[in-house]
Amino acid sequence: MPRTSRFEGRLLIAPLTAFLIALLGFPLVLDIIYSVSRVGFENIRAPEPIGFSNYAKAVADPEFWAAAWFSLRFGLIVAVIQVVAGLMLAVFLAPLFAKRPWLIALLMLPMMVAPALVGLMYRLILHEFVGAVPYYLLEWYGDFPAFLGRDWAFTTLVTVETLQWTPFALLILHSSYAAISPDIREAAALDGARGRRLFVNIDLPLMLPALGLTFFIRFIDSFRVFDNLYTLVGPGAGGSTTSMSIYIYQAFFKVGDIGLAVAASMLLLAASFVVLWAINGLTARKAPL
């Protein structure tokens, strides 16, 4: 590349680089400083350096690992359910969507509601004295489970998250399914492939990239769950529904241990980076195929 073009290229990309440094670089540097400091609200402008003890404290804290395990379990379960449900809906409702595409817009509506409001809404719906669900269960069966209690909270949260975000999986998978060329299906049909065999051997392999992408987007989104969980059950009795985001929020605002909160978030950032780097590596290696 001629030297002038290279210079022009750098010049043109400079504003974007400066923008990214200002928006991402500054908070990152601040986070790194806080994570190696003793800092609370009292000395937020004058943190006291203490080395890596905040990281040691987070790693030694069983509640940090409990929160990480909660988020991992929640993220994996919810992502799997949403992908499977989204795939089923995309395939079974495909003929209907082809004739009436406006139905897709209708199914997207749950995504339009802010997650915090969804949490509040279900808190009302599931409340024994004002909610419809316990009322009818009591009328019909004489009893109902404590939906937000310790034993049911996780199931309720998974259900609420699934109901709100399965439409997202449906949208991506429907696009992917609709994009498969009819010629390929026709050719497979000429070779005798029908029904399940056609789906497993033709449709599914062609949809794999979309399935993978949907899974990872939903996993990342569910792993960092905060809003609806916080408004629905909070950290739970004894901290039983504390996700990583709630752990960090509690350490920052409730306990006022900003150093610990930021160190925990930096560990989360590092873990996320490793996972994304691995995915990127895998994708890059498979690309030539």
Binding site: F41, E42, I44, R123, L126, H127, E128, F129, V130, P145, A146, F147, L148, G149, R150, A153, T231, V233, G234, P235, G236, A237, G238, G239, S240, Q250, F253, K254, V255, G256
Partner: protein, 439 residues
């Protein structure tokens, strides 16, 4: 010429807008979404009616959820978005470094009793005007308790139930004479699953969510049993028989089904919904709930049948947790003079009369409360209970008091739902408190 006139008019309008934008005003950050907000709005309207333009008050409100966390972040960042902000007794130590101490005018000393003014004091300095006092009432259904005290069959059943579940035969008593055991027996009696004749589904409704405010409610039981956070020597004393007994009162009531299954996610609003639906016979709750519960439009099922007394008596006496909400001056404020003027006015008997009539709950001196007692009879009781039974745990205004409440909420709710043994929960609370409250 026409264009010139337009330009001049535009310039004049711009200048006028600029002038009004630059006009000094006092921005007040209040406690949102309740009677306190309604009271503050009326008081501000009254103040603005006579204040000069430079001193007029503008009100802003955050969401109640996470209010104190957001306030802490704003104060620490030196925000100048508000001049006056909410203060609470239990958060005084946390916010004091970012607040400006005030000098009380004589009018304030005549408006509030000394004990109430002290709820806004930290480290020997006054940080705010105490606008609201919060304590606990034992709410009960007067119609149900009257029948219990007079019906022979109900009395006999009450004795049987208390003997079966508490190990001793008790007789129904007037709520004002209840011990904690009497309350437990009443809650058991009015639980449908235990007594099929009970007109209510539950005998009580407990607030057991992992939330600091719920610890304050439960503390009235802990203190009545003789519990405290620390002794005079500064040693943490929560691992005591008193704390164990008080924790077991809640656990027993929850395990026996006297409170809704979801009680472990209940706080102020959910408990009110249960009591207001007419499905809970008793409730230990904040005094602020009375207005709505006794309102025929809001809770027709129980309005007119709501009795209130101070919390039950324990071996150490009768107690209610007490704390104040108030308004103080942001250290970073750019209009401290205007803020002082507003607070001086707010502390006068006339201002507090407006505030109380509009829904606020100030604890006022006898002479001032007389003026509002016809419309707000609960304020008379508020003052009496605060004086007779009010307490603050030893260490309850420390800089990290809020974190202590949070810690206890986490550990004790773990015990109540069976995730931890009482020994483990108390040991964890003691260890954490020693760290938080060390000098």
């Amino acid at each position: 010429m026409t264009r010139l006139k337009t330009l001049l008019t535009g310039a004049a309008l711009f200048a006028a807008l600029g002038a009004s934008g630059a006009m000094a005003e006092v921005t007040v950050l209040g406690w949102p979404g309740g009677p306190e907000e309604a009271g503050l709005r009326k008081a501000a309207d009254a103040y603005n009616a006579t204040a000069s333009d430079a001193d007029k008050v503008k009100l802003i409100f955050f969401n109640r959820d996470g209010f104190f966390d957001k306030l802490a972040a704003d104060l620490a960042a030196g925000s100048t978005d508000f001049d006056v902000n909410l203060l609470a007794t239990y958060a005084l130590g946390r916010y004091a470094p970012f607040m400006e101490p005030i000098t009380l005018p004589d009018a304030s000393k005549a408006t509030f009793p000394e004990k109430v003014l002290a709820t806004m004091q930290y480290d020997g300095k006054q940080y705010g005007i105490p606008t609201d006092l919060s304590l606990h009432f034992m709410y009960y259904r007067t119609d149900l308790v009257e029948k219990l005290l007079s019906d022979a069959d109900w009395k006999a059943k009450y004795g049987e139930i208390s003997e079966k579940y508490l190990g001793k035969k008790l007789e129904p008593k007037d709520p004002d004479a209840w011990t904690w055991e009497d309350w437990m027996a009443t809650a058991l009696f009015f639980t449908k699953a235990i007594n099929s004749d009970s007109p209510t589904r539950y005998g009580t409704v407990l607030q057991m969510k992992n939330l600091l405010f719920n610890m304050m409610v439960w503390h009235s039981a802990a203190r009545a049993e003789g519990g405290d956070w620390m002794n005079e020597a500064g040693e943490i004393t929560v691992d005591s028989p008193a704390y164990r007994t008080a924790l077991d009162i809640y656990k027993k009531l929850y395990d026996e089904g006297t409170s809704p299954k979801d009680s472990t996610t209940y706080e102020f609003a959910e408990a009110n919904a249960a009591f207001g639906a007419g499905q809970a016979a008793t409730m230990l709750q904040w005094n602020a709930a009375f207005g709505d519960l006794d309102n025929k439009e809001k809770t027709p099922a129980v309005a007119g049948k709501v009795g209130t007394v101070a919390p039950p008596t324990g071996p150490a006496g009768r107690f209610t947790h007490i704390h104040g909400l108030g308004l103080g001056i942001n250290k970073a404020s750019k209009n401290k003079d205007g803020a002082v003027k507003f607070l001086n006015w707010l502390g006068t008997p006339d201002a507090m009369e407006i505030y109380a009539k509009a829904g606020g709950s100030p604890a006022l001196s006898d002479a001032v409360v007389e003026k509002v007692s016809a419309e707000r009879p609960d304020l008379v009781k508020l003052g009496q209970y605060a004086g007779a039974y009010g307490f603050v745990m030893h260490g309850g205004t420390a800089a990290k008091a809020l974190q202590v409440y949070e810690l206890q909420a986490k550990e004790f709710t773990a015990y109540w739902v069976g995730d931890k043994s009482i020994d483990d929960a108390l040991t964890a609370a003691k260890t954490g408190m020693a760290e938080l409250l060390k000098p």
